[in-house]
């Protein structure tokens, strides 16, 4: 399995706070990694750095042979557009754009828009009949599925999901998790921050953080039990 993500001695400091205090690990292409740990342990900071939303204080964060730490503002922008698909806990949809326009927004910043492709992406997440709805007219689960469609539309190398089910009820959580399982089966590489051990168990591996350090990296129970 080829290495897609390589993190070496990654540090991020906010003043005197060490959000990441020398983290190292690798992620193989097609892996689903669950990043776990208590609040303030550095999970989101790691996701932000790997996604090019933030820059590390030191260390390396190589994604698809690109060292994110060495990119300037323009390079980070292209990196995010071409290699990363984000899924946030708060969904982060533009409220005045319809579902299909939210998906097309990612296409627009990547290259050119293709409405048909955006529609197919929404149909894939089960929202073929909701494409012209504004986010306000969609349930939390539906909004998150729009976010998943948006994350996938540019065929990113890496999907970064920060607590994607944190704001969902159980039924919607199952729907969204089902989507992630499907993506993983198709070979997508997923790094997912979660507090939920049950979801963590579905991943190939769990990486646990505490106080900015990687304290435990284990294959998940699910993997051991042969779910994948």
């Amino acid at each position: 399995m080829a290495t897609l993500v390589q993190v070496e001695e990654l540090r991020k400091e906010f003043g005197i706070v060490h959000a990441l205090a020398g983290v190292s690990f690798n992620v193989g292409s097609g892996e689903w990694i669950a990043i776990m740990g208590p609040s303030g342990s550095g999970k989101t900071t790691l996701i932000n750095i790997l996604g090019g939303l933030d820059t590390p204080t030191s260390g390396q964060a190589i994604v698809d042979e690109v060292d994110v730490a060495r990119l300037d503002e323009v390079g980070l922008t292209r990196f995010r557009a071409q290699k990363i698909g984000f899924i946030f806990q708060q969904f982060h949809l533009v409220p005045y754009l319809t579902a299909i326009e939210n998906v097309m927004l990612a296409q627009y910043f990547h290259s050119t828009t293709d409405e048909k492709e955006a529609q197919l992406a929404l149909e894939r997440v089960g929202l073929g009949d909701r494409i012209e709805h504004l986010p306000g007219a969609l349930s939390g689960g539906e909004q998150q599925r729009v976010a998943v469609a948006r994350a996938l539309i540019n065929h990113p190398k890496l999907i970064l999901a920060d607590e994607p089910t944190g704001n969902l009820d159980e039924a919607n959580e199952q729907t969204v998790i089902g989507l992630f399982r499907e993506l993983h089966r198709e070979g997508h590489t997923i790094l997912m921050v979660t507090h939920d051990p049950a979801i963590g168990n579905l991943a190939n591996r769990r990486i646990e953080f505490a106080h900015g350090r990687l304290v435990k990296a284990t294959p998940s129970n699910a993997r051991v039990s042969g779910l994948f």
Binding site: L53, D54, V74, T77, H92, V94, Y96, L97
Partner: protein
């Protein structure tokens, strides 16, 4: 997608943008009206100043124009030939004058021989009891000043016998002039009648012209006339031309100052609205950047939004401004200001520039850090 996004941005922020567009429309309306006024003020002022009477005087070189002595005279034919040769369409009125002191009812009166039909155009401020001379009238009609009419007890229709060195001529009073000046003591007859009485055929004391146009064009015309009449003094009447030029400069300065002031105030109003809008859009911008949107592309989107607001506000305001300028023209000058097509693009460009200047807070959105925005939530 750009157009679609732009439309959604405009629709999505309608309430907030309404304040900005109201300010821009108001700015465009006043600026358009003022620019219309600025373009037309010279013509309007010239018209107003022509109401004050003649603005070019042709006199014999070094002559003392006293109105009482024909000591220095000029050739009527030469002067008229020079005026006609120049063929300037801006000459509103021109009249020769021959002044002679004659007697009437044993009193001395100053008689001015002139072209009576030119007087209404040359002296539009004179008040008249009776009628100006018309082309149907006999050449032996006359106009008398208010004081002369009083002293000689003349009314409209009275006969008036004028005598000069033993030669007499009978005239009929058709109008009594109230000029509020020396003209109230004079009698106005047709030039040939005065020349005949005074035995000065073809001679005039001076000529007055009323010429429309700017102060500069007036000076140019006077210079051309002077070179055509080397034996005469041709001078713009300084008090009127200088007052016109001075007033024009002051009004122009006032208009430019108002346009600048209104533009700055509107930009500040737009700035306030856009600052609030920028705060609202921080999350959207953070998201757009997270999705790979470049600073240039995102800021261009917002600037285009503001540009559209400026263009729409400028267009609507320019149309309203035309009406405002017409109203202002009617109130100030008694007639509408002529609207100029150049005002539309000029107003729109100016208002778009004002809108973009006021959109400074939106430009600062380019500095938004997505990670910071997401952390705040």
């Amino acid at each position: 997608m750009f157009g679609r996004l732009l439309w959604k941005l405009l629709r999505g922020s309608g309430g907030r943008l309404a304040v900005a567009i109201l300010a821009l429309v108001s700015c465009a309306m006043v600026v358009s009206a003022l620019l219309n006024l600025e373009f037309d003020i010279e013509r309007k002022l010239t018209q107003e100043f022509r109401m004050l009477g003649a603005n070019i005087l042709i006199s014999p070189s070094n002559a003392q124009i006293t109105g009482s002595s024909p000591a220095e005279l000029m050739s009527e034919r030469e002067v008229w030939a020079a005026i006609q040769n120049l063929k300037d369409p801006n000459v509103v009125a021109a009249a020769p004058f021959l002044y002679v002191v004659e007697s009437a009812q044993n009193r001395q009166v100053v008689v001015a021989g002139t072209t009576l039909e030119e007087l209404p155009k040359l002296e539009p401020t004179w008040r008249m009891e009776g009628e100006w001379k018309s082309s149907q009238d006999q050449p032996t009609v006359c106009l008398v000043g208010r004081n002369v009419a009083q002293q000689l007890q003349l009314t409209v229709g009275s006969p008036l016998l004028l005598t000069y060195l033993g030669k007499s001529a009978q005239f009929k009073v058709v109008g009594i002039i109230d000029a509020g000046g020396a003209e109230d003591n004079q009698v106005f007859v047709e030039l040939p009648e005065a020349q005949d009485l005074a035995r000065l055929p073809g001679q005039i004391s001076f000529a007055q012209l009323s010429v429309s146009g700017t102060t500069k064009s007036l000076s140019r015309y006077a210079a051309r006339l002077a070179s055509a009449l080397p034996a005469c003094d041709v001078k713009p009447i300084r008090q009127i031309t200088e007052a016109e030029g001075d007033l024009l400069s002051r009004i122009r300065l006032l208009i430019v100052s108002m346009v600048v002031l209104i533009s700055v105030l509107t930009a500040l109003c737009v700035l306030g609205t856009m600052a609030a809008l920028a705060m609202e859009r921080r999350q959207d911008v953070g998201l757009m950047k997270a999705l790979g949107g470049s600073i240039g592309r995102i800021v261009t989107l917002f600037m285009a939004e503001v540009g559209v607001l400026g263009a729409v506000g400028g267009f609507v305001g320019a149309i309203l401004g035309v009406e405002l300028s017409r109203w202002m023209g009617r109130r100030v000058f008694g007639q509408a200001i002529s609207s100029r097509w150049e005002i539309f693009p000029l107003t729109i460009v100016l208002v778009v520039a004002v809108a973009l200047a006021g959109a400074l807070p939106l430009r600062l959105l380019g500095k938004v850090k997505p990670a910071v925005i997401f952390r705040e939530q």
